[in-house]
C-alpha cells in the first residue's frame, strides 16, 4: 500500500468523524494562533523600539547634565543641574582629545510659544549648531537647514518640524514666512522631513534655531551658558565605546571631578538598543512559553482523541488486518490521521494568527509582525505534534491482534 493510498485512507477517517476531528483541530489551532501572534507581537515590539531608537541618530551618544549623587548624599534629578556649557561642547570637537567623535551638536532647548499672526503653538524650541542635522540623522523636506553663517552671526533663521509647520501654517508652505517668538521675528528657512514619533516625544513637533541666537536673545541670563544636552556622533558603530571613554575623560577633566562624582551622564544609543532588545526578547520568551504550553495541551488532545479512535475502531483495525493490512500499514494510517489533524490545525491556526495580526493592531498600540518563517515553522510544529502524539496510539493500533480486534464488540 503506497503513501498516496495511506493519506487517502487517513483523510477518509478524519472526514468520517467530523465533529471529533474538528474539536481536536481546535486545540492545535488555538495553540498555533497563539504562537504566531505572540512571536509576531514580540517581533513587532522589537522592531518598533529599535526603529524609534535608531531614529534618534546613528552611532549616537547623548550627554546630559547632572543626575549624580552629590558629596552630601543628595541626588539631583536627571538633567536638573546646569553643568554642561558651550565650551564643554567645543572641547569635545577636538580631534586630538576625542578622535572617535565625528560630530558634536550642543543643544539648549526650551518650551516656547511661536506666533504666526493670530495662530500660536507652544513647542520645544531647540537652539543648536548646523551639525544637529547630521548627528540626529534628520533631513530637510523643503528649504534649507541652519548654516555655519546662521550660527556665527546669530541670525533669526528658524527651521520647523513638519507637525509644528502644519499647526502654524496649515497646508501652506511656511518657507520664507516669518514667525514671532518673545517678540523677536524669525524667518522660516526650512521644514524638516518627518521622523515619526516615539512613545515619549513627537520628533516632528519642534523648531530649530541657531544656538547663538537662543543663548543671546531668548535665554534667561542665569542659564545662558548652560546646555540641555550635547548630542555626539561617533565615527562608526565600532568606535561608540571609544568615543564614550574620550568624552567621559574630557568632561571629568574639565569639571575637575572624580568619576564617582561625575555631574553628567552619557547614554549610548546602542546601550538603549540592547536594553530594549533584551526587554522585548524576554517578552517574546514569556509569550512563546505560554504558546508552547497551549500547543502541548493541543498535542495531548490529539493523543487523547487518537487513543479513543483506536479503541473505538478496534473492529475496523481487525478487519483491515484480516484483509491484509500489515502492522506497518496500520501504524502509518493512524500517524497520517494524526498529522492531518495537526496540519489542518496548523494551517487554520496560522490563518487565524495572520488575521489577528491584521485586526488586533487596530485596538492596541503595538505592531504585530508576522514573519513567513514563523508561519511555516508553526505549521511544521503542528504537524510534528500530530506525529509525536500520534506515535503511541498508532503503535497500539498496529499491535492489535486481528482475532482480538475482530472479536471486540
Amino acid at each position: 500500500m503506497n503513501w498516496l493510498e495511506t493519506v487517502r485512507t487517513g483523510l477518509q477517517a478524519v472526514r468520517a468523524h467530523r465533529l471529533r476531528s474538528s474539536l481536536t483541530v481546535l486545540g492545535i489551532l488555538i495553540g498555533i494562533a497563539t504562537v504566531v501572534l505572540s512571536v509576531g507581537l514580540g517581533e513587532g515590539t522589537k522592531s518598533s523600539v529599535s526603529s524609534q531608537i535608531s531614529a534618534l541618530g546613528s552611532n549616537l551618544l547623548i550627554v546630559s547634565p547632572g543626575s549624580t549623587t552629590s558629596a552630601s548624599g543628595v541626588r539631583g534629578g536627571f538633567g536638573s543641574a546646569a553643568t554642561l556649557t558651550v565650551s564643554d561642547a567645543n572641547a569635545l570637537t577636538s580631534k586630538v582629545a576625542a578622535p572617535d567623535v565625528e560630530n558634536v551638536a550642543p543643544v539648549q532647548s526650551a518650551s516656547l510659544e511661536i506666533d504666526n499672526g493670530s495662530t500660536n503653538w507652544t513647542t520645544s524650541v531647540v537652539g543648536t549648531t548646523p551639525q544637529w542635522l547630521t548627528v540626529r540623522a534628520r533631513t530637510v523636506e523643503s528649504g534649507r537647514f541652519l548654516t555655519a553663517a546662521d550660527y556665527a552671526k546669530a541670525t533669526t533663521s528658524i527651521v520647523l518640524g513638519p507637525s509644528t509647520a502644519s499647526e502654524l501654517f496649515g497646508a501652506f508652505d511656511p518657507v520664507g514666512q516669518t514667525v514671532t517668538i518673545d517678540d523677536i521675528q524669525f524667518s522660516v528657512v526650512g521644514v524638516l522631513r518627518s521622523a515619526g514619533s516615539d512613545s515619549s516625544s513627537n520628533l516632528d513637533d519642534t523648531a530649530i534655531i541657531p544656538l547663538s541666537t537662543e543663548v543671546q536673545r531668548l535665554s534667561a541670563s542665569s542659564s545662558r551658558s548652560s546646555l540641555s544636552s550635547i548630542y555626539l556622533a561617533a565615527t562608526a558603530n565600532s568606535t561608540i565605546s571609544a568615543a564614550y571613554q574620550e568624552v567621559d575623560a574630557i568632561l571629568l577633566a574639565r569639571h575637575d571631578v572624580a568619576a564617582t562624582a561625575a555631574d553628567f551622564t552619557i547614554t549610548a544609543q546602542d546601550s538603549l538598543l540592547s536594553t530594549a532588545t533584551s526587554v522585548s526578547k524576554t517578552l517574546t520568551i514569556l509569550l512563546g512559553g505560554i504558546a508552547a504550553l497551549s500547543l502541548l495541551v493541543g498535542g495531548i488532545g490529539v493523543m487523547n482523541i487518537m487513543l479513543v479512535s483506536v479503541t473505538e475502531r478496534t473492529r475496523e483495525i481487525g478487519l483491515r488486518k484480516a484483509l491484509g493490512a500489515t502492522p506497518i500499514v496500520i501504524r502509518r494510517q493512524f500517524l497520517v490521521e494524526a498529522s492531518v489533524l495537526g496540519l489542518i490545525g496548523g494551517v487554520a491556526g496560522a490563518a487565524l494568527g495572520i488575521g489577528g495580526a491584521i485586526v488586533i493592531p487596530h485596538f492596541i498600540t503595538n505592531d504585530i509582525v508576522v514573519s513567513p518563517t514563523a508561519v511555516v515553522g508553526a505549521i511544521a510544529v503542528a504537524v510534528a505534534i500530530g506525529v509525536v502524539f500520534g506515535v503511541y496510539p498508532a503503535g497500539r493500533a498496529a499491535r492489535l491482534a486481528p482475532i482480538d480486534a475482530l472479536r471486540s464488540e
Binding site: 500500500m1 503506497n2 493510498e5 485512507t9 477518509q12 477517517a13 472526514r15 468520517a16 473492529r315 475496523e316 481487525g318 478487519l319 483491515r320 488486518k321 484480516a322 484483509l323 491484509g324 493490512a325 500489515t326 502492522p327 506497518i328 500499514v329 491482534a401 486481528p402 482475532i403 475482530l406
Partner: protein, 229 residues
C-alpha cells in the same frame, strides 16, 4: 480427492493466561480439497473458532503444520501472514464487518488497496465482484442503507474480489433472518458450482446441510467426517 487446498497435520493450539493453560486444539489433522464446500460444526468451546482462526491465518498453531495451497504457513511472520490473508483467503464474518463510512464498492476494493493494485483496476474489479453477487445496482450505497442480507452480499463480494484460493465464512448467516439466510446460502451454492473452495463455520445443521461435507469438532479434536473425506 483433488489436490488439497488445506492440509493440517497434528495441529495443537494452547492458550496461556497467567499460569492457566487451555489446549483448544489437541492434534487436528485435516485435508480439504480444491473446489470442496465444507461445513465445520461444533458446540461453543469445542475449538471450532480456534480452528477457523488458524485456517484463516489470523492466528498460528502452537505446534503442527499447516499448508495452504501448497505453502507451509505454520512459521510465517506477521507480515507474511498478512500477505497470505490478502492474497489467498476471502473472509465472510457473522457481523459483516463492513466499514460504515464507505460505500459498497469502496468496501469491496479494500483488500485490493492492501494488495497494491491501481485505482482504475480496483474499481473495475470491485464492480465486477458486486455484479457477481447481484449488487450491481447498490454500488454507491453505504452499509447503513442496505439490509442485512444485502450487507452480507457486499461482504461476500469483498471476499471474492481478490480471487482467493479459499473462502472462509464464520457463521455468515448468524445475524440474518430466514429469508436472507436462504439468499446467502444460495449465493454460496452458486460459488460452489463455480468451483470455489468454501469452508463455512456454523452451529446450525440446516446451514451445514448445504455443504457436501461436514467436519465436526469436539473437545479440540476433529471427531467425525462425513461426505467426501
Amino acid at each position: 480427492m483433488p489436490e488439497p487446498i488445506i492440509a493440517l497435520r497434528e495441529v495443537h493450539k494452547v492458550y496461556r493466561s497467567g499460569s492457566l493453560e487451555v489446549e483448544a486444539l489437541r492434534g487436528v489433522s485435516l485435508d480439504i480439497g480444491a473446489g470442496e464446500y465444507a461445513a465445520v460444526m461444533g458446540p461453543s468451546g469445542s475449538g471450532k473458532s480456534t480452528l477457523m482462526h488458524i485456517l484463516g491465518c489470523l492466528d498460528v498453531a502452537t505446534s503442527g503444520t499447516y499448508e495452504l495451497a501448497g505453502e507451509d504457513v505454520s512459521d510465517m511472520s506477521e507480515v507474511d501472514l498478512a500477505a497470505v490473508r490478502n492474497d489467498r483467503i476471502g473472509f465472510v464474518f457473522q457481523q459483516f464487518n463492513l466499514l460504515a463510512s464507505l460505500t459498497a464498492w469502496r468496501n469491496v476494493e479494500l483488500p485490493l488497496i492492501y494488495a497494491g493494485i491501481g485505482r482504475e483496476v480496483r474499481k473495475r474489479r470491485a464492480i465486477d465482484a458486486l455484479t457477481r453477487v447481484g449488487m450491481a445496482d447498490r454500488l454507491d450505497h453505504r452499509p447503513g442503507e442496505l439490509s442485512g442480507g444485502q450487507q452480507q452480499r457486499v461482504a461476500v463480494a469483498r471476499a471474492l474480489v481478490t480471487e482467493p484460493a479459499l473462502i472462509l465464512a464464520d457463521e455468515p448467516t448468524g445475524n440474518l433472518d430466514s429469508h436472507s439466510t436462504a439468499d446467502v446460502l444460495a449465493l454460496f451454492d452458486e460459488l460452489r458450482a463455480a468451483g470455489r473452495t468454501i469452508v463455512l463455520i456454523t452451529h446450525e445443521a440446516e446451514v451445514a446441510g448445504h455443504a457436501q461435507r461436514t467436519i465436526r469438532v469436539r473437545d479440540g479434536l476433529v471427531v467425525e467426517l462425513e461426505g467426501a473425506a
